[in-house]
């Protein structure tokens, strides 16, 4: 596969799957305002994914569309990070996952806005405004969890401990990524890792949270290897396209 298409899919798939998880929370939020806020974030992410899918389809030039890429691939053909597919176990899990990925997206898009690839630079610049707000919101929630009740601190701690094992993958470059790095197209993940660490440490400090000591990490999303949850996500997400292949909207 063309390196550029693969790199586009890594970014777009992660945004799409995270967006789907947030959309699952629609009508299940703790209260109306939070419900709307979550779906707003989901819409921002799907907007970013859509424009990248359309561009990837254009490069592939095999007659497939952005929608085909989003909805008509098999499990091992999605390259999203495994963190984005982790379930909404409780509100703390949803928000800790969001905080980790918002922080990642913020620094990733900051770097990509300087990419030599003008399409990526434009998408990154546009989405960065949205992600800046997402990060502000999820950071505030982390701080609120940590300084709220014993229960909120415990739930946030559990979520951090459960999700930490998927964070290192964000910074492990795929072959496509490294291939594009030399051309000034993809973002330097080592640099982003440093910034991510600094931001997470800062927010953890304000939230009375600790970085987990267990260093065990899971990888695979960028190679199309996913967690057990992923098949369920696809079967729900692709239900409509499978049942009504010619559906239009």
């Amino acid at each position: 596969m063309n390196s550029l298409v693969k790199y586009y899919l890594e970014i777009a798939d992660s945004a799409l799957i995270l967006s789907h998880r947030l959309a699952e929370n629609s009508s299940n939020g703790p209260f109306l305002e939070e419900d709307l806020a979550c779906t707003n974030v989901a819409l921002d992410l799907i907007g970013m994914a859509e424009s990248i899918y359309n561009e990837a389809a254009k490069i592939q030039a095999d007659g497939s569309t952005g929608d085909d890429l989003a909805y008509r691939r098999s499990e091992w053909e999605y390259y999203n990070n495994v963190l984005s597919e982790q379930p909404n176990t409780d509100f703390a899990h949803l928000m800790v996952r969001q905080f980790f990925l918002d922080t990642y997206h913020y620094y990733l898009l900051t770097e990509l806005s300087k990419s030599k690839n003008s399409f990526l630079a434009a998408v990154a610049t546009k989405s960065l405004k949205e992600v800046t707000y997402h990060l502000r919101r999820s950071s505030e929630w982390m701080i609120r969890f940590g300084n709220g009740t014993d229960e909120s601190l415990k739930r946030a701690t559990d979520a951090v401990n459960n999700l930490w094992r998927y964070t290192e993958e964000l910074f492990k470059a795929s072959e496509a990524d490294l291939d594009l790095r030399d051309k000034g197209i993809s973002a330097d993940l080592e640099l982003i890792k440093k910034e991510w660490d600094a931001k997470v440490n800062e927010v953890f400090y304000l939230s009375n949270l600790k970085r987990p000591e267990n260093q065990f990490q899971l990888f695979g999303g960028k190679d199309g290897k996913h967690s057990e949850h992923f098949g369920y996500i696809l079967s729900e997400m692709q239900y409509l396209t499978n049942k009504y292949p010619e559906a239009q909207w």
Binding site: S27, N28, G29, P30, F31, L32, E33, E34, D35, L36, A37, N40, Y133, R136, R137, E140, R144
Partner: protein, 97 residues
């Protein structure tokens, strides 16, 4: 929607649509703190480009005229039409009154 009773205090939301325009009451939101209130206000009331500035005010801090007092507050103004500038023609340049 669980925990309806536990969604934090109420805040009133005011939006300014353009620079120089007055802030208008848009509705209310729940929020545990100032940050959450202004973020919720942004997500609930400004998704479609409604404004360029936003205020939230704790609803409990708003002083209102009670229904029983409203007659003495407002009715005396009803029969004093000479207080309205309706006897003047507005110059053409005036867009808002």
């Amino acid at each position: 929607m669980s925990n309806m009773e536990n969604q934090g205090p109420l805040w009133e939301v005011f939006i300014q649509s353009k620079a120089g325009q007055p802030f208008k009451h848009a509705g209310s939101v729940h929020g545990y703190d100032k940050e959450m209130a202004i973020e919720n206000a942004r997500d609930v009331y400004t998704r479609r480009g409604e404004g360029i500035a936003l205020w939230v005010v704790p609803s409990s801090e708003i002083v209102a005229v009670s229904a029983s007092e409203s007659n003495s507050f407002f009715e005396p103004a009803d029969d004093k039409i000479y207080r309205h500038p309706t006897f003047y023609t507005l110059p053409e340049g005036v867009k808002q009154m």
